[in-house]
């Protein structure tokens, strides 16, 4: 009974997403119809061909895909490395300023990104980073960094002290303990953080909307938003094809790492 109810709800929940997929497979004259048609027949993949490969048209979703991939992977790398390194001493060492630094980082989680939008733009412009990968990656990483530290510190705190002591007796330095003991044991949380950082970079809209002026450098969400054109049916096909393609990487990540996300969230900061 409950299962049936939940199944019904889930299907209902997926309908808008199915609509995207169905539309992306329709021939252009079939796209706008009342009543709505849920079966794309005759089907076509021409919209996918158009958004991926067409050379002179500007809707370079293929190019935007590449941009998004570079930016998201770059962000994940910086976030994971910088957060893990920072979380380690905050969790397992005593030093001056520890409380203050951690309080500042946690406090910054309260600051919406929009508050620093304008000065961040001014800074990026002064660095000559507008419309560049680093101009997207570095601010994006800075946005997620504090969250990463918070998540990882909570996890590092739970690790037994004995592991470290044993390694230290064997003559291991701090870096060795960090890289050979802590990191391998933290894989699930690091994975969850990586997925979180990937998603927020892959889907971020506001920052790339203003920090990129060269359409060649647009990541997917910006390219899609500006492609909608006069919001007319002839661009629905390519837009929905682009939307479907842009969902794929995260869908794959989620299907593969489904367990790990729940596990990572559970192991991370949530337990306070």
């Amino acid at each position: 009974m409950l299962t049936a109810l939940m199944m019904g709800l889930a299907v209902l929940w997926l309908l808008p997403a199915i609509w995207v997929l169905v539309t992306s497979l329709k021939l252009t004259p079939d796209i706008v119809r009342v009543p709505p048609e849920w079966i794309p027949w005759p089907a076509t993949i021409e919209h996918y061909g158009e958004v991926l490969f067409s050379s002179s048209r500007t809707a370079r979703i293929g190019r935007a895909f590449l941009n998004s991939a570079v930016v998201s992977l770059g962000t994940v790398f910086i976030v994971v490395v910088a957060s893990a390194m920072a979380a380690y001493p905050l969790a397992r060492m005593r030093f001056r300023g520890r409380g203050l630094i951690f309080a500042l980082l946690v406090g910054s989680l309260m600051i919406p990104n929009a508050v620093v939008l304008v000065p961040q733009y001014v800074l990026t412009q002064r660095l000559g980073w507008l419309s560049t990968y680093q101009g997207l990656i570095v601010p994006e990483a800075a946005m997620t960094f504090a969250f990463g530290v918070f998540l990882l510190r909570q996890f590092f705190l739970t690790m037994p002290r004995e592991l470290e002591d044993a390694a230290r007796i064997d003559g291991a330095g701090a870096w060795a303990i960090f890289s050979r003991i802590l990191l391998p044991l933290s894989q699930p949380v690091l994975g969850a953080l990586a997925i979180f950082a990937f998603r927020s970079a892959w889907n971020d809209f506001l920052w790339p909307l203003i920090a990129v002026n060269k359409p060649d450098m647009f990541p997917l969400p910006v390219a899609l938003a500006l492609l909608r054109g006069a919001y007319s049916s002839e661009s629905y096909g390519p837009i929905m094809a682009g939307a479907t393609l842009s969902a794929l990487p995260l869908l794959v990540v989620f299907l593969v790492a489904n367990r790990r996300i729940v596990e990572g969230v559970r192991l991370g900061g949530l337990k306070g």
Partner: protein, 291 residues
């Protein structure tokens, strides 16, 4: 020698992150405060100190007031559905439903879409003439309207869209929290004859408290800066009925007027509001959590 190196070790580990954090979070925050006292404009080399002029102008800017009010309305109105719907789903999924993985994935799927995809899809679904949503309502004999063009329903349509988008994310977080509640507690309660509701109120909710707080805070911070949905779905319309602070800020700085000084003043007003809200929240919740 060795000892000194040991004393520096924590800072060595902190250095990359703190550099990133200082240059791209702390410095912009302070620089924004400075900009808010200037007449800085995009593409203009000089900028002059104008004192509180930008803030004074905000006092008269009725569209800014409207956008503040709308942002507050959105934040308050969306909190209950965003908190409760995923919770209900999570509790249901946690009760040994079959096909759990599929169900969880189904609800999570929208969260993998970008706000742009979500917006464009719902814009079409809600189209008053050719949109499927109104078509089916009409078939059912329900009176239809232009949900996004009616000042009474536009913000609610944005909230529905947002709920659809983020429910899966919070669902997963709740599930993680629920798994940590020991089964024995429920079993003991069942033996004592506690009803399902009673168990929910006296076991599930209290033990989920930190998770609920996390979801609550995450959602509130996100709500204060809602932009993408509005940008795609209504552009702030009808009239200014869904205009939000970040949209107003974006247009002031990057789309219409390119006035960085005024936009920075708006950002700091928003910051002050959030800060006040956080302090209030902190006072209310102090002693109850382990954060």
């Amino acid at each position: 020698m060795k000892r000194r190196r040991g004393a520096l070790t924590p800072y060595f580990f902190l250095a990359p992150g703190l550099l990133l954090f200082t240059v791209f979070r702390v410095y912009p925050l302070l620089d924004g405060l400075r900009l808010s006292f200037t007449n800085a404009r995009l593409g203009r080399a000089q900028q002059a100190f104008v004192g509180l002029a930008n803030y004074a102008r905000l006092l008269d800017d009725t569209r800014f007031h409207t956008s503040l009010w709308n942002t507050a309305f959105y934040t308050v109105a969306s909190t209950l559905p965003v908190l409760a719907i995923p919770l209900v789903l999570a509790v249901a999924l946690n009760r040994g439903v079959a096909l759990r993985t599929f169900l969880r994935s189904a609800f999570f799927f929208p969260f993998t879409l970008s706000v742009v995809t979500v917006g464009l899809t719902w814009l079409w679904l809600l189209d008053p003439v050719v949109g499927p949503f109104n078509y089916y309502l009409r078939t059912l004999g329900v009176p239809v309207r232009s949900w996004l063009a009616d000042p009474g329903s536009a913000m609610w349509a944005i909230i529905v869209t947002t709920v659809w988008w983020v429910t899966g994310y919070y669902l997963v977080i709740y599930l993680a929290g629920l798994q940590d509640i020991p089964r024995e507690l429920y079993e003991a309660a069942a033996i004592d004859g506690a009803s399902g509701w009673r168990r929910f109120w006296s076991i599930t909710l209290p033990l989920l408290r930190p998770v609920l707080l996390f979801v609550f805070v995450t959602h509130i911070i996100g709500s204060f800066q809602i932009f993408g949905q509005v940008f795609i779905l209504t552009q702030g319309g009808p009239g200014d009925a869904t205009r939000t602070v970040v949209q107003h800020l974006y247009e002031t700085a990057f789309a219409n007027f390119f006035h960085f000084g005024a936009a920075s003043a708006m950002a700091w007003v928003l910051f002050a509001v959030i800060l006040g809200f956080s302090l209030l929240q902190f006072r209310l919740l102090r002693g109850h959590t382990e954060y």
